[in-house]
């Protein structure tokens, strides 16, 4: 067997392995990686600061290598190559023979030689370890400077904002992203960054990093300076060619292992691929060219359709700090005779520039800032030399409606490359859709791997899917899952009209198969919203939290949240909660929703805890359901010297009105007693703010990962009108939203937006307002406390046991004591312990 050693387990090294094993089993593969973990997604590295863990970023787990018989040695730096003996040696002294060696050593961050770069608080932005260090350091400081206003630098700046630091970007050139955009494009970008609170300093060359041990500031060559607590250098990359160089392989004087068109170095048994390589005077700092290089080598090894590496288009589209930036083809109009056409819209922060050929027939390239929706289309027009329309300026001055985009996709030739990360053409996609009968984006992703790299091509792939399906005569519509060909809204109508009461009735009459974890809770939610019967009658179609009327927690225990409407509670009730929590040894915490959560209950303890709470006058808080959660309040006019209306009374009234109401997703409300908005009503699904004359009603706000302010629906209305409008609003939402869609997303997707919503629920354009109010009234009248149902019914209580054949409790439940209360044992530790 031929033995292949791969040095470097980065994105390209891994892609090489994937490609090779998918074509041949005739190779023994050994991979050496210097980093402590297997290859991870460096392209999405920054998501580490917005919630992804190091584990989430892994491209494949250790077990993947094992099951494909690839020997992966992480934490091993290859230090020398003995080319005569054909062997590599690592820092720990390991030695291995190779038949073929593939160098995929990537690059490191380029650190300019500035006086003082060794100071504490100076970081680069390349590996997960770098990011961990940055995060730890950032927790102690306030102000960060990023050197580098290119792609990577701006990404680092975004990370600094995510870490809530005052952020400055310093760029040596006279504009941001000097390789992708021109001065006008950069001006728009600078503007946008400033709106986000990032200060931009262009045309500044750093001459010294000040400080004493740790850094305290930067001095520029023009004599000015800036204070800083942390510096992140993100000023470019430096190919890691040191191993190659020390082993006598040729490297470029400015860095990069020299290779020919077949990725061969000057040793015929050694290939080099990825960012470490210099091909035809170019070092490619993107994944797609690296993947193509891997393909070139794999084809030679398996001796099938051998092709050379022909260089790579460096067009890019990305979303930086929420700003779309696209740069494609001849972006700067360097082709002789090319004519630029540009649109600069400072008000909306949009810049578009296209360069057309001197004869006006073809698009050569261009730059898009602020709105890059047309990027893929333009890029394909360049790549495929699609003739321009008669008035080429209509490309950027005309409105870029969605239909234009799909018709553009329609005109692309089959050879057009759609997914550049995986090199998939339009023809490949159409073939898959036609031949293998895939009908969903997910299916297409699985079959072709399209969109699995940077994901930028997803909108285009989706358009191609839609167009192809349509041309094949498929009706394209939103369906719940493989078991139902209906959308949630359609099922609402069906269930209501046909008076279906159970999941099985719905499935038997309008679905197929046996259901799944997607359609069961969706139908359960519909049944609850339409009939409001106790969900305990069909426990096994509920999500686990609904099934046990409590929220499952790490380790498998549950939390209990009684309703505390409006956040108002008497001392007696406070003491009751304290007593019950103490009796059952529960961890207690004030929630973000103005109430009290008690954690760590065993499943068998739930009914008796509820019984005691009910005894004290509490009810279920529905913290487990896609249902009304809380209506927060501020103190309001009764106590507060600024209050103009009684916000507490109104919040309690509203919370009690909608308690138990089930919806496509959870719903939250708040009532503030004056314009100061202490109840944060504008971040809620419905928010009410008191005015001198009455109440302002806001709708469709959201906290969570994508916060969105609620929009003003009506102002200065009286309480009765306000309540009536909320009735209509909620009922319309319950009827028409997709599963697990909050009101904010529902409105964002609604054609016609807020105006349409107003027409429906205020002007009664559809003539359904009476119906909506009637339906809401029925739901309100049908309210019951779900806990009480269980407490009153010994039959139902039988489900609340860990084992059905033993009274033992779950022996794996374990807790530790922290700050005088119990917490579940850490699950990662539990995992490791069991390894």
């Amino acid at each position: 067997m031929t033995r292949i050693i791969v040095v470097g387990n980065g994105m390209v090294g891994l892609k090489f392995c994937e490609k090779l094993i998918s074509r041949s089993a005739d190779f023994e593969i050994i991979v050496y990686g210097e980093e402590p973990r297997p290859a991870y997604d460096r392209v999405h590295l920054s998501s580490f600061f917005s919630g992804s863990s190091a584990e989430d970023l892994l491209l494949t787990p250790y077990s993947w290598y094992e099951s494909n018989k690839i020997k992966l040695l992480t934490g091993e730096l290859v230090t020398s190559i003995d080319r005569n003996e054909k062997a590599v040696q690592t820092h720990s002294g390991r030695k291995d023979h190779y038949d073929i060696l593939v160098l995929a050593t990537g690059s490191s961050a380029f650190v300019p030689n500035i006086e003082g770069v060794e100071r504490n608080g100076v970081f680069v932005y390349r590996t997960i370890e770098d990011l961990i260090q940055i995060r730890d350091y950032a927790s102690k400081i306030k102000k960060a400077v990023v050197i580098g206003g290119g792609l990577l630098g701006l990404e680092a700046a975004k990370a600094m904002i995510d870490l809530r630091l005052e952020t400055h970007v310093v760029e040596f050139a006279q504009r941001l992203m000097p390789r992708q955009v021109d001065d006008d494009g950069s001006a728009i970008l600078v503007n946008k960054l400033q709106q986000l609170g990032i200060q931009v300093h262009i045309n500044k060359s750093t001459s010294r990093i000040e400080g004493n041990g740790k850094l305290e500031g930067l001095t520029f060559s023009n004599g000015t300076s800036i204070d800083a607590d942390m510096l992140v250098i993100s000023a470019g990359i430096r190919p890691r060619d040191e191993l190659a160089k020390n082993s006598g392989l040729n490297v470029h004087q400015r860095g990069g292992i020299l290779v020919d068109d077949f990725m061969k170095t000057n040793d015929e048994n050694i290939f080099a691929i990825g960012e470490a390589v210099c091909h035809n005077n170019m070092v490619y700092g993107l994944v797609a060219p690296g993947y193509e290089m891997a393909e070139v080598v794999v084809r030679q090894l398996v001796n099938d359709h051998i092709k050379p590496f022909k260089g790579f288009d460096m067009s890019t589209k990305l979303k930086l700090l929420g700003v779309d930036v696209g740069s494609f083809g001849d972006a700067f109009g360097e082709t002789p005779g090319s004519i630029p056409i540009a649109l600069k819209d400072n008000r909306n922060g949009v810049y578009k520039r296209v360069n057309i050929s001197s004869d006006g027939k073809f698009l050569l390239g261009g730059i898009l800032v602020g709105d890059a929706a047309q990027y893929h289309l333009f890029h394909q027009m360049v790549a495929n030399k699609i003739p321009l329309p008669n008035q080429p300026e209509s490309l950027i001055f005309g409105t870029s409606s969605k239909t234009d985009e799909t018709s553009g996709v329609k005109n692309l030739p089959d050879s057009a490359q759609i997914c550049s990360c995986e090199n998939i053409s339009k023809g490949d996609l159409v073939f898959q859709i036609a031949q293998s009968g895939v009908t969903t984006l997910d299916g297409l992703k699985k079959n072709t791997k399209a969109c699995t790299g940077c994901g930028g091509c997803a909108p285009m792939v989706n358009d191609i899917l839609k167009i192809t399906l349509e041309s094949l005569g498929h009706k394209v519509k939103k369906t719940l899952c493989e078991h139902f060909d209906y959308s949630r809204q359609e099922l609402f109508g069906i269930i209501k009209v046909k008076e279906l009461r159970t999941f099985n009735q719905v499935l038997d009459s309008h679905g197929r198969g046996d259901g799944c974890e997607v359609c069961k809770p969706a139908v359960a939610s519909l049944l609850a919203s339409i009939w409001n019967e106790p969900i305990m009658q069909q426990p096994t179609i509920q999500d686990t939290n609904d099934r046990y009327l409590a929220n499952i927690q790490k380790g498998g225990s549950y939390s209990v949240v009684p309703r505390i409407a409006g956040g108002e509670i008497t001392p007696d009730k406070l003491m009751a909660i304290g007593r019950i929590a103490q009796k059952y040894n529960l961890y207690t915490k004030i929630t973000g929703g103005q109430r009290i959560d008690m954690f760590g209950a065993r499943v068998d303890q739930l009914p008796s805890i509820w019984a005691e709470l009910i005894e004290e006058g509490f009810e279920s808080g529905h913290a487990y359901g896609k249902a009304l959660r809380t209506v927060k309040s501020c103190v309001g006019s009764t106590w507060c010297r600024f209050g103009v209306q009684d916000s507490v009374a109104y919040a309690i009234f509203i919370e009690n009105r909608y308690k138990g109401l089930r919806a496509p997703h959870k719903i939250k409300g708040a009532v503030s007693g004056c314009i100061r908005e202490c109840a944060e009503a504008q971040s809620k699904d419905f928010g009410i703010i008191a005015t001198e004359k009455g109440w302002n009603l806001y709708v469709c706000g959201n906290g969570g990962a994508r916060p969105q302010h609620a929009k003003l629906l009506v102002n200065d209305v009286d309480m009765e009108t306000c309540t009536k409008l909320i009735d209509r609003f909620l009922m319309f939402y319950i009827r028409t939203a997709d599963p697990l869609t909050r009101t904010a997303t529902w409105l964002n997707k609604m054609e016609g937006g807020l105006d349409y919503l107003r027409e429906v629920i205020i002007d009664d354009k559809l003539g359904i307002c009476d119906l909506l109010e009637k339906e809401m009234k029925e739901l309100i009248e049908g309210y019951h406390c779900e806990w009480k149902k269980v407490v009153d019914d010994p039959e139902l209580q039988k489900q609340f046991k860990h084992f059905i054949n033993s009274d033992d409790t779950d022996p794996t439940l374990s807790f530790v004591e922290v700050r005088e209360q119990k917490l579940p044992s850490n699950w990662n530790e539990m995992r490791d312990k069991n390894k």
């Binding site: 493989e482 799944c516 426990p539 096994t540 179609i541 686990t544 084992f803 069991n834």
Partner: protein, 127 residues
């Protein structure tokens, strides 16, 4: 992983390896189209009453994703006709026929044979 290996030594590759048919509980103890957990020695086994199909399945109660003892509280369903269980924690799904993870790269779970006699559910173990 120790726990997983321990479970595997109890799961039979084919029916002739079964040494013990353990009487777990009465049919009526299980919810319709859902699961419950039973204790056998120091193992926890999730047993599913797939009443819609008139079938019974058993698998380990431990979800290999975060090592949580919860699979019996998950939702059952089918994909392309094959029965599956979705973990209530993060909705990883596993085939009830062979234990394969269907939407991720998690370890395979162990599945156990089930038989019904005189209204009682029996689970087959190799020891």
């Amino acid at each position: 992983m120790e726990i997983l290996n321990q479970l595997r030594t109890h799961a039979a590759e084919n029916l002739c390896e079964i040494k013990i048919w353990f009487r777990a509980a009465h049919i009526s103890d299980f919810p319709e189209n859902g699961g419950a957990c039973i204790k056998y020695k120091d193992l926890q086994i999730a047993v599913f009453n797939f009443s819609r199909r008139n079938e019974w399945y058993a698998c380990q109660n431990l979800c290999p994703h975060k090592m949580q003892m919860v699979l019996s509280r998950g939702m059952i369903g089918s994909t392309d006709g094959d029965p599956k269980i979705a973990c209530p924690f993060h909705k990883k799904t596993f085939s009830l026929l062979n234990g394969q993870c269907l939407n991720g790269e998690e370890e395979k779970i162990s599945v156990f044979p089930v038989k019904v006699e005189d209204g009682f559910i029996y689970i087959g173990f190799t020891k």
